[in-house]
């Protein structure tokens, strides 16, 4: 591990100033991903600015631009957010996504902000002996010709086929959450749908945040779709594994006609960012929800999918998972 300095930030503004002024500086929060990257040589910072103890740890009811909701401090631990009564009752997809991630120990350590900024688990990204454009821009992509089972099927580029690993980010993307970001020039709000990027020619940039910008909070909006929402994760084993594919969805049905008043769908494990399935949503709005209709809606979104022999399974898997989740929500099963 390369030598680095460590500074415990006194407040968020000091942390932002220290990182913004130093290209070799990184924020450290829960550390469940970054400390591993220090060991693997994937991250080689000169300075870690420790924000773990900053008092960004409240879950509060608030009224924001999107309406009534919850404001979640960036340092709220994944376990505490999943167990929060208002998250469980009003944003079940968020609680379910968190509970589907990592282990009990890691959820106590991992933070809300850090969860969103964790990096891909693409095996080549984490292996410094192999070329990877995300880790070493211009070095090439080992995954395109290599082991391809986890590769993206939507929005990938010739430079990168990695997928985003966060479960929480998928739920927040479906439910139109936003992150509050503090930078050297002040605070701004970034919709979750605009936080993560597609790889294009710059897969080294996971997000649209600038160096030195710090996520200080996540804002959840209460809505009929958030109250009837859930998260399903398909993985190689029953627990403690990253998603092959995942689906976060919220559904608001007209109780009389059974037609879809509103629906939100986002997918994990399929792209470089949480994939908001807007075409599928459009296909379902105003229609009576059926299993076949849900599959066809998913196919409308998946028309753009590009697959190879090793990851073609993801198309059928995410189509079926989407139909399962939506029909489950329609039946009021809750999961």
């Amino acid at each position: 591990m390369k030598q680095h300095d460590h500074h415990v930030a006194a407040d968020a503004a000091e942390a932002v100033a220290l990182v913004a002024d130093n290209p070799g500086a990184r924020f450290l929060a829960g550390g469940t991903n970054l400390v591993d990257h220090l060991k693997l040589g994937v991250a080689r910072p000169d300075l870690l600015v420790d924000v773990r103890r900053l008092p960004l740890d409240a879950v509060e009811e608030y009224v924001g631009p999107g309406g009534r909701g919850l404001r979640v401090g960036a340092n709220v631990r994944n376990s505490d957010l999943a167990a929060h009564p208002l998250v469980r009752s009003r944003h079940p997809a968020v609680a379910r996504a968190l509970l589907a991630g990592a282990s009990g120990q890691i959820r106590h350590q991992a933070t809300t902000g850090g969860n969103l900024l964790q990096r891909t688990r693409c095996v080549y990204f984490q292996d410094v002996t192999t070329p990877c454009n995300k880790r070493e821009p211009g070095s090439g992509c080992s995954a395109i010709e290599g082991y391809g089972r986890y590769n993206a099927i939507l929005g990938a580029s010739e430079a990168c086929v990695a997928t985003h690993p966060s479960d929480l980010a998928v739920a927040l993307t479906a439910l139109d959450a936003a992150v509050v970001v503090l930078g050297p020039d002040g605070e701004r709000r970034v919709p979750m749908t605009e936080l993560h990027r597609l790889p294009g020619h710059h897969p080294e940039q996971d997000t649209t945040l600038r160096h030195g910008e710090l996520i200080t909070a996540v804002e959840l909006v209460d809505s009929p779709v958030s109250r009837t929402s859930t998260y399903a994760k398909v993985r190689d084993r029953a627990s403690y594994a990253f998603a092959l594919v995942s689906v976060a969805a919220g559904l608001d049905l007209d109780p009389d006609s059974g037609t879809v008043r509103d629906v939100r769908i986002a997918w994990g494990g399929v792209a470089h960012r949480p994939w908001r399935a807007t075409r599928a949503e459009e296909a379902l709005r105003g229609e009576v929800l059926t299993e076949d209709g849900a599959r066809q809606a998913a196919d409308a979104e998946l028309a753009a999918a590009e697959t190879g022999p090793e990851n073609a399974y993801k198309v059928a898997m995410v189509r079926n998972a989407t139909a399962m989740v939506l029909t489950g929500l329609a039946e009021g099963a809750g999961r």
């Binding site: 030598q3 469940t32 009564p85 120990q105 403690y240």
Partner: protein, 178 residues
């Protein structure tokens, strides 16, 4: 003492105040084992995948391999070796430890300190009403059936495969008949 890459940290470990000068790169696990001689938490994978380094950190189960020691200055660490003192000051085993003994919840024993700490932390979470991935009703009190125990303990791997005994031990510790 504060050179750019060295810090003095203070911890309470199993009830004892301890101090060490550590490199900024030192994990909490290495600080405990190599600097303070506290060998109860074990180094298994060292990448947050096995759970053998689990302790109770400020009262909650926590990995020590993915934690930099300098981030945890002032924290309270309880390892499996210090658990017996949680309930009283006697030398007696913690009920979860006794349960692991009674049900053969181990073979080689390497993962056991982490398993035991994880089980103690997990039972507290369940008592506080925390749901898990397999909880049907997110808003109901969790019922620690076998599926719940397996899910909640999934962050602790046992290379010997003593899961049947571990499950029985945790089931009994959770107040169910084994």
């Amino acid at each position: 003492m504060d050179s750019p890459s060295t810090r003095r940290i203070s911890l309470t470990v199993d009830g004892q105040p301890r101090t060490a000068d550590v490199d900024t790169r030192t994990t909490l696990l290495d600080a405990l084992r190599e600097r303070l001689g506290v060998t109860s938490p074990k180094k298994g994978c060292d990448h947050g995948q096995c759970g053998s380094c689990t302790v109770l950190l400020d009262g909650r189960r926590h990995l020590t391999c993915l934690a930099l020691a300098v981030s945890y200055d002032g924290s309270e660490v309880v390892t499996a070796a210090g658990l017996g003192a949680l309930d009283d000051a006697s030398e007696e085993l913690h009920p979860v430890q006794q349960s692991f003994l009674d049900h053969d919840g181990y073979q080689c024993g390497y993962c056991t300190p982490g398993q035991v700490c994880s089980a103690v932390g997990m039972l507290d979470e369940a008592k506080a009403g925390h749901p898990s991935h397999v909880t049907e009703d997110l808003e109901a009190e969790p019922d620690l059936d076998d599926d719940e125990i397996r899910e909640r303990m999934s962050g602790n791997l046992c290379r010997c495969g003593a899961y049947v005994g571990i499950l029985a031990a945790v089931r009994e510790a959770a107040g169910r008949n084994a």
